[in-house]
């Protein structure tokens, strides 16, 4: 038999627990997206080597390598493929809303929309720009209007699990689930879903490099959930933040780097 005092304590603890629980999940998705966009926007010029080791269940392994130059402040980048031989010399130049593909076989610059795939992979120009989650996605809502956010442990790391849906048409996947660290909102895991709701891929952000309070995801593993057995491991190495001359970001320089 519990005393009235005991009951009062229990009610207080329950209220306190509920309050703590509510405040812990009371993160606003828009704020998280804005923060993680900001964290991953590097306010430096970047030169790096990009390596994509692809495991294909049918074809075996394929290694794609590229040299990447970026002027992050104005969303400009230039990338030229260095491996494999069939892709070597193909390149990409992005400036604001304009995106050019250079094909060394036909020696043509093709001026296209931003969603064009890179070297036949699942990657596109958006994967090489600063992320724009805040502009492209919004929180998925529960029937009662609450944002779909929960707390979890990813291995030993406390994370928020956030479900977001696209707010603009020009995105690769209309729905994503992000697992972001609770302490700094950096994403550790991301799942992408097709319009039909099928899980298409799971992306693990395995390592970040920090520069002046901003972060580059230097190692990522992308697991193809649609074609089982296919995986891509991204490695970004030889990062340099040396100032790049404006002349780097020109068709002429891309053509010169190409074959």
């Amino acid at each position: 038999m519990q005393s009235p005092r005991m009951k009062l304590w229990l009610v207080l603890v329950l209220i306190l627990f509920t309050h703590i629980k509510a405040s812990a999940t009371d993160v606003v998705v828009k704020d998280v997206l804005r923060t993680l966009d900001g964290l991953r926007k590097i306010h430096e010029d970047v030169t790096a080597k990009v390596q994509m080791a692809m495991r294909d269940a049918e074809q075996g392994d394929k290694l794609i390598e590229a040299v990447y130059f970026a002027k992050d402040l104005d969303d400009t980048f230039l990338m030229v493929m260095t491996k494999p031989e069939s892709e070597k010399g193909n390149g990409y130049l992005k400036s604001g809303k304009n995106f050019w593909m250079y094909r060394r076989n036909t020696r043509t610059f093709q001026h296209v929309g931003r969603s064009e795939s890179i070297s036949g992979t699942d990657a596109n120009a958006g994967d090489f720009e600063a992320p724009k989650y805040e502009l492209q996605y919004t929180a998925a809502k529960e029937p009662d209007g609450k944002e779909r956010v929960s707390e979890e442990l990813l291995s030993k790391v406390p994370v928020y699990k956030i479900e977001i849906v696209s707010s603009v048409p020009d995105v690769d996947y209309p729905k994503k689930i992000l697992w972001v660290r609770q302490d700094n909102y950096l994403p550790l895991k991301e799942q992408s879903f097709s319009l039909s709701g099928t899980l298409m891929n799971t992306q693990y952000y395995l390592k970040y490099s920090e520069i002046n309070g901003h972060y580059i995801a230097v190692k990522q593993l992308v697991v193809d959930e649609f074609e089982k057995g296919n995986k891509t491991l991204w490695d970004i190495t030889d990062i340099s933040f040396k100032k790049l001359p404006d002349e780097t970001f020109s068709k002429a320089y891309l053509e010169n780097l190409s074959k």
Binding site: S117, S155, L188, S209, E210, I211, L233, D238, S250, N256
Partner: protein
């Protein structure tokens, strides 16, 4: 003791350095275990350790690479298929072509490039007196630049200016047109000097001096071009001229249009540099059109669609108006047809005034490492066309097979029935190294 610890540390470091490349392999080999992936929280973020990247364009290097194309076509004659022709009217054409690339790099963006092409024909195809090996230098040029402000390329080079996919009227330079059956084939260049001055990403100016047929300074042909951005639209203008030739003026654009990537080219010339067959009284003569503006234009739309995966379906369509082409089907008259062939004036896909083409491809279909394509070209004046259903199967990295089936349709006296084929089976094998 200290030495032992140092030795132990060194051994451990060496061990981890040696096994670290295999870590990537392991990640690809295993089913991801999230507990293991994020077990060491401290390793998830590291300080950036900026280094100096050595870009391959800034180093001394010599690289050899190449591609080997094996191309086999079996053309099935229309009459044989109808039971009125002989089996001998079917044609087997097979050849192997090697493109060997030499790529030499020096610091400051200086480079040399050569594409030496060898085509090997079976003895049955080559004439008795001709060699079974054809030799061509498709490109051989040197590149240098002045402080990345002006880029110069001198030698035999392939340049394609213009934004459309299949027809490029503003491509005033190239002799070799794009091959409908092998759209990504490496084409042979022209001899000359090109100067390219970029002004950021937004503006470019070019000058090309074509020396292909030049014995003296007044034999040069020249092409000047500028392109610039206006928002998401890129516009180019160009002019081509040569001594005692009619000048041509070009305008082209690429821009988002109604949710598509749009592109277009327009060329105007006051008269033509190409001869045509014209009737003079009761005889046929060759003469070029003069004294009037001749427009040549192409409009193209393309779009990539999502099908479970991003960008899996690629759609492209082009409409081509050739103001210098024939407005009627001249192949209906045997004398005109004979003269067209004998005079060497026939250019495939440029004979008539109006054409259309569509290119559809679905990547990762029917299998993950294959793609399916359907290409169609039609002469809108005589109603003939070619439809090609193709499969591209990547066997391994650097090797692919592409079988395709071409269907020729239209009247017997029409452009795409000139070959006499009704069907063609094509198998291409491409190896890159």
């Amino acid at each position: 003791m200290i030495s032992f610890l140092r030795l132990l540390s060194l051994s451990l470091v060496t061990f981890f350095v040696l096994v670290s490349p295999a870590c990537g392999e392991n990640l690809l080999d295993q089913v991801p275990d999230e507990s293991a992936l994020f077990a060491d929280e401290s390793s998830l973020v590291t300080s950036a350790n900026p280094g100096e990247i050595a870009v391959f364009g800034d180093q001394h290097s010599v690289a050899f690479s190449g591609r080997l194309d094996s191309f086999s076509t079996y053309g099935v004659n229309r009459q044989w298929l109808a039971g009125t022709g002989s089996f001998a009217s079917n044609v087997l054409l097979t050849y192997t072509q090697a493109d060997l690339f030499l790529d030499v790099r020096l610091p400051k963006g200086v480079k040399a490039f050569a594409d030496v092409s060898l085509t090997n024909l079976p003895a049955a195809v080559s004439t008795a007196s001709a060699s079974t090996v054809a030799f061509d230098i498709k490109e051989m040029f040197i590149d240098f630049n002045l402080d990345r402000s002006i880029y110069v390329r001198t030698g035999k080079q392939f340049i394609q200016w213009g934004r459309a996919y299949f027809w490029n009227p503003v491509d005033f330079i190239n002799r070799e047109q794009r091959n409908f059956f092998n759209l990504n084939a490496v084409r042979s260049g022209v001899y000359g000097v090109r100067v390219h001055a970029p002004f950021g990403q937004d503006h470019n100016a070019y000058l090309f001096i074509d020396m292909t047929n030049a014995n003296n300074l007044d034999d040069f042909a020249f092409l000047a071009r500028a392109d610039w951005l206006m928002g998401a639209t890129e516009i180019g203008s160009s002019v081509w001229g040569a001594n005692q030739k009619t000048f041509s003026y070009g305008l082209d654009f690429s821009s988002p249009l109604w949710g598509f990537d749009g592109s277009g080219e327009l060329v105007l010339s006051y008269g033509s540099n190409q001869n045509k067959i014209v009737e003079s009284g009761s005889s046929l003569v060759l003469a070029s059109t003069q004294g009037q503006w001749i427009p040549v234009a192409v409009l193209g739309l393309s779009r990539q669609l999502h099908w479970e995966r991003p960008n899996r379906i690629n759609l492209r369509a082009e409409l081509f108006y050739n103001g210098d082409g024939y407005g009627d089907n001249i192949l209906l008259r045997a004398d005109k047809k004979a003269l067209l062939i004998a005079s060497g004036l026939y250019r495939a896909n440029y004979l008539s005034k109006l054409y259309g083409a569509a290119f559809v491809s679905v990547s990762e279909f029917p299998g993950r490492s294959s793609s399916l394509s359907f290409n169609l070209i039609q002469n809108a004046i005589d109603g003939s066309g070619i439809a090609v259903l193709g499969l591209n199967q990547s066997i391994t990295d650097g090797f692919q097979m592409s079988p395709s089936l071409a269907l020729y349709y239209g009247d017997a006296s029409s452009e795409y029935l000139l070959s006499g084929y009704s069907l063609a089976f094509i198998v291409q094998a491409l190896l890159t190294f």
